[in-house]
Amino acid sequence: MKSDPTKPSAPPVIDLLIVDADWLVTMDERRRLIRRGAIAVDKDRIVAVGKTTEVEARYSARRTIQAKDKVVLPALINTHLHHTQQLARGMADECEIERWLVERIYPYEAAMTKEEARISALAGHLDMIKNGTATYIDPGGYYPDETAQVTGETGLRGIITRSTLDIHTSTYGAIPKNLTSEDTKEALKEGEETVKRWHKAFGGRLRAWFGLRSMRNCSDNLCRGVKELADQYGVGIEAHVLGSHPNIWASISRFGCTDVERLDRLGVLGPNWLMVHMGWVSPHEVHLLRQYDIKISQCPAASMHGSSGRSYHGAFTEMVQLGVCVSIGSDSGPEGNFNDMVRNMYLASCTAKDQQLDPELMPATTILEMAFINGARAALWEDEIGSLEAGKKADIVLFDTQKPEWQPLHDPVSTFVYSATGASADTLIVDGRIIMEERRVLTMDEEAVLKESQAVAESLVQRAGLERLSAPRWPVF
């Protein structure tokens, strides 16, 4: 039979339509907000974004998600999350960074087995999923393979690394030998092996980078070697930089200058660095960050809980206003203590207002740009994630507005940042696959993960010798 040119051809069949979104926050170049918005998804990509009436007319979908009463956003991007620390939640409350590391977290990490690292990664993933996060950047621990495998199973998007260091003492104290005792060459080899093994795995959902644990523990040769390899593989480098005030003195006492200046002297600065924390930057360093388009991960909750002073003494507002790419991360179970990006966004905004006595600073629109646009750039992944646009990966989250904290609702951007938390994340789609639906997680056994997390933590807290230090202070009967 001949086709009749006067009749319209049947609309193409695609995998998924999301329709009738109360608000669709696109984060596209024009930052369009679409009422009664719709998204068409085929396989792992967005094929159309627009008004429901228009998009519905163009496609026929195998599956339709009704998004009435939902605010639809790009899925969140968490640019700093330690998966292997997830189970140390509660084991390092109320102690300064030196004790936090040497007395609590190093022993915890040293006691951890591979299997426990897997449970920890699952728990970290669960905590992200429940808050609407699709993409993470993990600064590495000593079990990147376990985190990688968990990402393979759960369907999230991520960047892993194996963190490296080659100087085993600093003014903070010594790193336990059973945690790591590798030299420069071994560190570079381990880092490279991880990149070779995991970069672009799981259909490209997983990427692998290089990682420096902390600048004070990294020799000049390690910094140069890592930069050379990262450029060779076309990947990024994560490093904890200027997280707390003592860091400055640890670096100056060993290297004669602070961290960013040191990397500048080594000639290794470039746009593939992701520097985490960055609370104590000098004006000159801010200038360098802008000059080299270095990416920053601000972790406001970690600073608050960890008494790091980055929120109240840092220069994030200045960096943002000067155009430095500042993104947002949650850090870890014992530092930051939750993986809720929305609460971290709230803190990034409001602590800046409180610090500078100016409620006009860091408005919700700026915060969304930090979380999505800068988050995607920090991940070196802005060609595929960070906004809802045709051609991009289908990483989408639906937030339920039929919650008291969301109402009344005039502007989804400000209500999201100032009133909501991640707990109202309802449905999460990553790479076109539904990961959570109406708060039910489809890609892992939530109950089992929570149970195992508790059991593993109870064992670890004893083996790491932290039972007494982390017990309740009020009398328990």
């Binding site: 679409i34 509660g90 608050m304 207002k353 610090q355 006595l357 008291p404 109402q407 005039h410």
Partner: protein, 465 residues
């Protein structure tokens, strides 16, 4: 036979005099009061009940007391973001409040209480407005406990702006008489769940005569007096310009500063004022959410750790929909505990236990209700909440107060009991029609905003298609 026994709580945090915590804990409730507290086997050995609730996988806590909750501002959420206080008050919130009808005020209070119940608050202190009757009606329905009032002002023009030329403008005598009437009518309502206090809206909008007369009225009614004091720096400047001294100093000079004040915000306090607070035992409501969103310098300039050190009773409030923007006291605890850790770079300052005390026993003291609420003890009112611990943000748990303050938010509250009555169970609200209230919120808020001429302030900054 008791009405209700809650058994097998993983953690029961009593906040009693000894701050006891029970693992495998239980509470027996009868006729609205707690009749037994302890380990499950011990409680069950002596008590039987019509109904037993198994709290395995849950934590039991005293219901939170929100010491500063503007019920009638709830519908103004989203209309006063990112602006300085003079604009916030005179350009946005006063015009909004001025346009409220009593039906709208009732809806506002219902929504506000809905949000509080859902996040584990059982009692609130409302600083007053023009609709105390509507707040009382909402409380009668919702089942919460509260202290309400009618706020007073008699200075209508100040450097920050001029009050709307409507019901906001009252003479000193009118303000006092109307407040007197409200206390007379509403105190001890809803089976004793409602109490009424006195209130000054602000110190800088209150004449000396109003301050002393409202305080005398409070004394006559054996209640306390609330006032917004020293919220931001410009408020202090306004007081200094008009009275030549700071607010707490002024109350002291007027001879009326005592332990029956609930001073709200208090972000800009001098060392001398700290002395006055410590000597008078006046109570302080710390509202960190309002402070940080308003850019008031709560943690960069506040002296709350010093107040706590001096033995001053510091309790917690969320403030309001357009101010702190959420009514979840758990998030306020988080800020109270973590704000000074960051600004002072001291990890142990305001520990998790301290934050829990602010939200419970200190709130009860501030409301002059600590004989009946604030902790889980035999003889006290059965105002308790069950929290679901089988959630990603809660596990693992090695120290429950740490996770409560540093990891959780109010969304994990599962069951809320006030006066022995279940207001929410398994996340489902019993007394209010949650769905219907939420549906009404946005259209009603838009209507009020348009009437008040502030609707454009709520519009998104980005283009809407």
């Amino acid at each position: 036979m008791a009405n209700l026994i809650i058994t097998h709580a993983d953690w029961l945090i009593t906040v009693d005099g000894n701050r006891r915590i029970f693992c495998d804990g239980a509470i027996a409730i009868d006729a609205g009061k707690i009749v037994a507290v302890g380990k499950t086997n011990a409680v069950l050995a002596n008590q039987q009940a019509e109904r037993v609730v198994n709290a395995t996988g849950k934590m039991v806590l005293p219901g939170f007391i929100n010491a500063h909750a503007h019920n009638t501002q709830q519908l103004a959420r989203g209309l006063a973001n990112d602006c300085h206080i003079h604009e916030w008050l005179y350009g946005r919130v006063y015009p909004f409040e001025d346009s409220l009808s009593s039906e709208e005020a009732l809806l506002s209070a219902q929504l506000c209480q809905l949000e509080m119940i859902k996040s584990g608050t059982t009692c609130f202190v409302d600083p007053g407005n023009h609709f105390p009757d509507e707040v009382a009606r909402a409380v009668t329905q919702s089942g919460m406990r509260c202290v309400l009032t009618r706020s007073t002002m008699d200075i209508h023009n100040n450097p920050r702006g001029d009050l709307p030329r409507t019901r906001f403008r009252e003479s000193t005598d009118e303000a006092v008489a109307r407040l007197d009437d409200v206390i007379d009518r509403l105190n001890e309502g809803a089976g004793g769940r409602i109490r009424a206090s006195a209130s000054l809206r602000n110190l800088y909008t209150a004449s000396d005569r109003l301050v002393t007369q409202v305080k005398a009225l409070a004394d006559r009614h054996k209640t306390f007096i609330q006032a917004h004091v020293a919220g931001d720096h410009s408020g202090q400047v306004a007081s200094l310009a008009r009275y030549g001294c700071r607010d707490v100093e002024r109350i002291y000079r007027l001879g009326v500063l005592d332990d029956r004040w609930l001073l709200v915000h208090m972000n800009w306090i001098s060392p001398r004022e700290l002395d006055l607070l410590a000597a008078s035992k006046a109570k302080v409501a710390h509202c960190p959410g309002a402070g940080v969103k308003g850019g008031w310098g709560t943690f960069s300039h506040g002296r709350f750790p010093e107040m706590i050190e001096r033995g001053i009773c510091v309790c917690l409030g969320t403030d309001s929909g357009p101010s702190g923007n959420f009514m979840d006291l758990t998030r306020a605890m988080y800020l109270a505990a973590c704000g000074f850790k960051d600004s002072r770079m001291q990890a142990a300052i305001v520990p998790s236990e301290g934050a829990v005390e602010m939200a419970t026993v200190n709130g009860a003291r501030a409301a002059l209700w600590d004989d009946s609420i604030g902790s889980i003890e035999v003889g006290k009112k059965a105002d308790v909440c069950l929290w679901d611990l089988n959630r990603a943000e809660w596990r693992p748990i090695v120290n429950p107060t740490g996770n409560l303050v540093y990891s959780a938010d109010g969304s994990s509250v599962d069951t809320v009991i006030v006066d022995g009555n279940i207001l929410m169970e398994g996340g489902v609200i019993k007394m209010l029609d949650e769905k219907a209230l939420l549906r009404e919120a946005t259209p009603v808020a838009r209507r009020i905003a348009e009437r008040a001429g502030v609707a454009h302030h709520g519009k998104p900054a980005w283009p809407v298609e």
